[in-house]
Amino acid sequence: MATETTEAAAAPGMPQLDFSTFPNQIFWLVVTLVVIYMVLSRVALPRIASVLAERQGTITNDIAAAEELKQKAAEAEAAYDKALADARAEAGRIGAEAKAEVQAEIDAAIKKADAEIAARTSESEAKIAEIRDGATAAIQDVAKDTAEAVVAAMGVDVDKAAIAAAVDARVKG
């Protein structure tokens, strides 16, 4: 501190304008700048440039790889979707086929049943008709016999033919 004050007295004003120190400062400044320039241009800047380029390359590669994987995933999904759609269509087709088969069987069974029913119905109708005819004939016979008996009981000559005709006319009417 004491030396500084004596020095301040020795160098009043701005030390910046003390021209006797200029050659010294300029010399060391030039040395410094040259050294810094050498350090930077020979070692530091190429190294940092290569690191930055490498990083950029890595990022680009990673992005490309990610893009590729994404593409693959999309392809896999498309394939999966296609398989699913195919399976669904196949299932639908099989279902429809089975349904058609069953329907055909059902139709055939119904037709057969209808035919049977129709056959039975006609048979029954024939029998009924036969029975009805039989009944009608029996009624006529009974009516003729009854009429004959009634007429005989009245004491009138029995004209079988006339009675039959009359009964037939009555029954029919």
Binding site: T3, E4, T5, T6, E7, A8, A10, A11, P12, G13, M14, P15, Q16, L17, D18, S20, T21, F22, P23, N24, Q25, I26, F27, W28, L29, V30, V31, T32, L33, V35, I36, Y37, V39, L40, S41, V43, A44, L45, R47, I48, A49, S50, V51, L52, E54, R55, T58
Partner: protein, 251 residues
């Protein structure tokens, strides 16, 4: 100033910190051209700090950077982008020179903020050489690249013909004032900030104003940190602007 400082028993020597003195030998020795001085010491410190950041910091060459390496890459990217944006793609050839200037000024400014240290960039001799180097390099480069058409820089072809000689004179003056403003801006900023710091520190000797003075020192120190970075940035971007003028002299 000396009488003022003596009053009240206060010792103000705000400019003492800028005195250049030999590092070895007696304080009063003559400073010769090759004498190792405090300026030499702090310039060497700047070299070491730059080497530590830019070489030791990046020795891992890691794709995922460490903290120091990312700071080095930040500085690289900052200046690289500045050169590219301001001077254009063909200015990138001169990127190492501009990076040298930027790092030297930045580290000298910041090293100068260490208490008891010496700020090499507060000396006009240093900044004048930096500015003259830029000025001469840019001027020579302008003539080598463009030949006589570099003089078109001073001939404002978009102005009316009558005004052009006057404008040429103004342009010529402003061109030659560039190194002056370039160097005085940096040295002045650094010197003023450090002198103000010293003045506040001197007031801290008086108990009555010591709290205010110490608060002032803290505030000015914070400001000086900003100024250190900004002045390095300003010097660098002006260098880029001058380089752009040399490469593309048309307005």
């Amino acid at each position: 100033m000396a009488e003022e400082a003596k009053g009240g028993g206060l010792e103000f020597h705000p400019m003492d910190q800028f005195i250049i003195k030999p590092l070895f030998g007696d304080a009063g020795d003559q400073v010769g051209m090759f004498t190792i001085t405090n300026a030499t010491f702090w310039m060497a410190a700047a070299i070491l700090a730059i080497a530590a950041l830019m070489i030791l910091g990046t020795r891992g060459r890691a794709v995922v950077p460490t903290r120091t390496q990312s700071v080095a890459e930040l500085a690289y990217g900052f200046v690289y982008k500045m050169v590219e944006d301001v001077a254009g793609k063909d200015g990138l050839k001169y990127f190492p020179y501009i990076m040298t200037l930027f790092l030297f000024i930045l580290f000298s400014n910041f090293l100068g903020l260490i208490p008891m240290s010496f700020t090499t960039t507060s000396h006009i001799a240093v900044t004048a050489i930096l500015a003259m180097a830029v000025f001469l390099a840019v001027t020579i480069l302008g003539f080598v690249k463009n030949g006589a058409s570099f003089l078109g820089l001073f001939w404002v072809s978009s102005a009316p013909l009558a005004l052009r000689p006057i404008l040429a004179l103004i342009e010529l003056i402003s061109y030659f004032v560039r190194p002056v403003s370039h160097s005085i801006r940096l040295a002045g900023n650094m010197m003023a900030g450090h002198a103000v710091l010293k003045v506040f520190a001197g007031f801290a000797q008086v108990a009555a104003v010591a709290p205010i003075a110490i608060f002032g020192v803290v505030a000015i120190y914070g400001l000086e940190v900003l100024v250190s970075a900004i002045q390095a940035y300003v010097f660098t971007i002006l260098t880029c602007v001058y380089l752009k003028d040399a490469l593309h002299p048309s307005h």
